[in-house]
Amino acid sequence: MSVITGSTPVRPEREWNIGWSDVGPFLALLALLLIGFSINQDFLSATNLGNVITRSAFIAIIAVGATFVISSGGLDLSVGSMAAFITGITIMFMNRVAADWGVLAIPAGMAIALVVGLICGLMNGLIVTVGKIEPFIATLGTMGIFRALITYMSDGGTIPIDRSLRDAYRPVYFGTFGGIPFPILISIAVAAIASFILYKMKYGRKCAAVGANEDVARYSGISIIKTRTIAYAMQGVCVAIAAICYVPRLGAATPTTGVLWELQVITAVVIGGTALRGGKGHVWGTVAGAVILELIANLMVLSDFVSEYLVAGVQGVIIIIAMLIQRFSK
């Protein structure tokens, strides 16, 4: 135990202490753009990049929610099937009221989506916290439940959105504002709000403390149950927002909607610099992570190196590599 003796002047410092986990995802993103450009000149075209980033928006939005859950020491495997379930319920609700309410059915459907998302998230959260079930098992269970429900609701087929609503709803995915597609704006807004909550509000501090060391949090008088449940609830809301953006893309919900999204979401969070065992969350890193995943998928399509059927395989490899890096850089 060495005590620092003498009077080394100690200055209060601003919290500027940038580590690899902060800049790593963005450097990786930059490197990927350069590699893409060298393979195919069209890669950096505004149209292609715009498309890619728009497509990554769903994953980005859900992954921002997952950043809360994972940072608080939890995990949510149910996000993909939850997204499908919410999409299905929303479309069914809108179709039913479309005749009477006209275009107003759309905002009403969005509200329903948010409420259902909140309830689904709360349910996950309470099973994990009050029920004290391992997050992995609890959300594996709800993942099965949501998937079964959407399959049942669609009778194994598709739930298409009513023709009268299709054109009115289209702009939510395909529209732009100031030349930027709506989904991109929405995911930026979601990430901005999330980083405000995580870095500027007391809740963020509690979330990181619970994730970093449950005992320390408990002994500091922080409620583990409340903190984690809120994280899952926010995850549910984020899934609902993603579902709202997703509805016009295909104009339908099917039993295969959102399949393997949980893999992409968790991968995005991990390559974004948030430790899977909990602790400080990196919201913007997560967003970068989601874009990286979509860029890689895009590269695989544009180039002929690897079959695009292997996209999920490549994502699996990426999450394992990211975890290895986290382990050995510790």
Binding site: M1, S2, V3, I4, T5, T8, V10, R11, P12, E13, E15, N17, K200, M201, K202, Y203, R205, K206, A208, A209, A212, N213, D215, V216, A217, R218, Y219, S220, G221, I222, S223, G279
Partner: protein
């Protein structure tokens, strides 16, 4: 004293006085040092351990005893220095290598598998085989033999979870002695034992010595050291003070060498007289599985000590009061009842608790200092939803000055501070909630001497401010040095109270251990 050392350093071997035979040291350590990053935890330790000799290593918490032992037994590699056995150089990068060379370690903690039987534990990982199958019968027979040698009579078929703590330790010792050993290292073996069990263990150690083994005995119980040791090596703050013949040292000498100054100066002058006004009243508190019938009153301005053996239930009592564990009973703070079933109730009412497990439950080691400082007081510190970063930063500056936390920069993480500075940060963290009762569990565990004195001074200052301080400690000297009154616990109950002239180690030890032999037997029978 120093002549002993020079004599040993000169030659490769020492002529033992009695029989005139030349005996090589079993183990010679030269210039052993260990650094973790920039922190030197052990520097330049040199000693010889002869066969048939009990060599004690003493030192305060954090003096480097455990580190030295880890180096000898292959759990850590030295940064500098060499080891030689029987005149040949050796180096261990794994515990198995040390074991193979004949160095066995009896761990301080009980490292046995609860759900397995005594015999299974004894041979775990080195089961005897017969025709390709596990030979249970021989192992059971050998287990009975080996345990019998140690005076332990538990059945080899008993599950480890059902036998008493003392028997578990004997199983652990038997396990270590299954190997061929030249040197047996005991790391604080008596920490969890009662008086009679200690006697039994000391007899076993003397028996090992008679059989010609070398014994390295690490302890801070000076009475045991005095009775056992042929040589005593004293460590202080990671440095070697010296090696002395055991019989030449009194316990006072040892204490002075360990501490490096007179003990009296360690504790602050008691200036505050406790008031008659009751601050914390606890009645009939029960913590299922750990404590029952706990009733006591702590007064304003009082330093109240809780003494007892490890496992007596002291920590659990206060975790119960803090709502961190299920508990029953009534707790009143300044005549107002506290709902102990609600986790934050006690903290909000004004009781602060500093955990004994600083690194595991007290601080977020990967986090910076400011978030750690305000974690218990988030609501008080940041009213509303938003955080006040600037206020937090100035609170940190204030805490650093008030509690003399030594740091290189405000940007360091809590885990980078030394043990003493972590403890000061934890104290600052708890005091940020402005508690009227501060409970400090093991206030100086793993802390160097300079920081210790400061912590004691802070405790005195807390009571001077009109707060009440409750100190839980396993160091009797410490409690006697700082407390106005000491309650002694044994097996989940308060067994007595000592004040004034009766505050002696003897008196406390008596209350902490007597009658326990019946209970231990009961445990063995279960």
């Amino acid at each position: 004293m120093s002549s002993v050392m020079t004599m040993e350093r000169k030659g490769r071997s020492v002529v033992s006085e009695k029989d005139g035979l030349v005996s090589h040291p079993v183990l010679r350590a030269e210039g052993m040092s260990k650094q973790y990053g920039p922190v030197t935890v052990l520097s330049e330790v040199t000693l010889d351990i002869l066969p048939g000799e009990i060599h004690a290593i003493i030192g305060e918490n954090g003096a480097g005893k455990s580190t030295f032992m880890r180096l000898l037994s292959g759990y850590a590699e030295p940064t500098a220095g060499t080891l030689s056995m029987g005149g040949r150089k050796v180096g261990f990068s794994k515990p198995e290598q040390a074991q193979e060379a004949g160095i066995v370690l009896v761990h301080q903690e009980i490292l046995l598998a609860d759900a397995l039987t005594v015999a299974e534990n004894l041979f775990l990982g080195r089961e005897l085989m017969r025709h390709g199958l596990v030979d249970d019968r021989t192992m059971r027979r050998l287990a009975i033999e080996k345990l019998h040698d140690l005076g332990c009579h538990v059945s080899p078929n008993a599950l480890v979870r059902d036998i008493s703590l003392a028997d578990r330790q004997l199983v652990q010792i038997a396990r270590a002695l299954l190997d061929d050993y030249k040197l047996v290292i005991f790391d604080e073996p008596t920490a969890v034992l009662t008086g009679e069990e200690v006697e039994r263990l000391l007899a076993i150690i003397l028996q090992l010595k008679e059989q010609g083994a070398a014994v390295l005995y690490i302890s801070h119980r000076l009475d045991e050291v005095q009775r056992l040791a042929d040589k005593v090596t004293v460590l202080r703050d990671g440095k070697m003070v010296g090696t002395y013949p055991g019989h030449s040292l009194t316990q006072m000498d040892m204490a002075r060498l360990m501490v490096g100054r007179d003990l009296a100066a360690l504790y602050p002058e008691k200036t505050v007289k406790p008031a008659l006004q009751a601050m914390l009243e606890v009645r009939d508190l029960g913590v299922p599985g750990f404590a029952s019938d706990i009733s006591f009153t702590a007064h304003k301005g009082e330093v109240l000590g809780f003494a007892g053996m490890i496992g007596a239930g002291r920590t659990e009592v206060f975790e119960g009061i803090m709502g961190l564990r299920p508990a029953t009973g009534t707790v009143k703070l300044q005549d107002r009842a506290i709902d102990i079933r609600r986790p934050r109730a006690a903290m909000d009412a004004g009781i602060g608790y500093l955990t004994e497990d600083r690194k595991g439950k007290g601080l977020l080691l990967q986090e910076r200092l400011a978030p750690n400082l305000t974690l218990s007081a988030l609501g008080r510190f940041h009213p509303g939803l938003l955080m006040r970063r600037r206020r937090e930063q100035s609170a940190l500056v204030e805490a650093v000055n008030t509690y003399d936390i030594r740091l290189k920069s405000y940007a360091v993480k809590a885990g980078q501070l030394s043990g003493g500075n972590q403890q000061k940060l934890l104290l600052a963290k708890v005091l940020l909630t402005d508690p009227s009762v501060v409970v400090i569990d093991e206030p100086t565990r793993g802390i160097d001497i300079a920081n210790k004195a400061q912590i004691y001074a802070f405790i005195e200052r807390l009571v001077a401010e009109g707060r009440t301080c409750i100190v839980i400690s396993s160091e009797m000297q410490e409690l006697i040095g700082i407390c106005d009154r000491i309650l002694v616990m044994r097996e989940g109950r308060i067994t007595g109270e000592v004040t004034g002239d009766r505050m002696t180690e003897h008196e406390i030890a008596l209350l902490a251990t007597s009658e326990t032999k019946d209970a231990a037997k009961q445990g063995g029978r279960q």
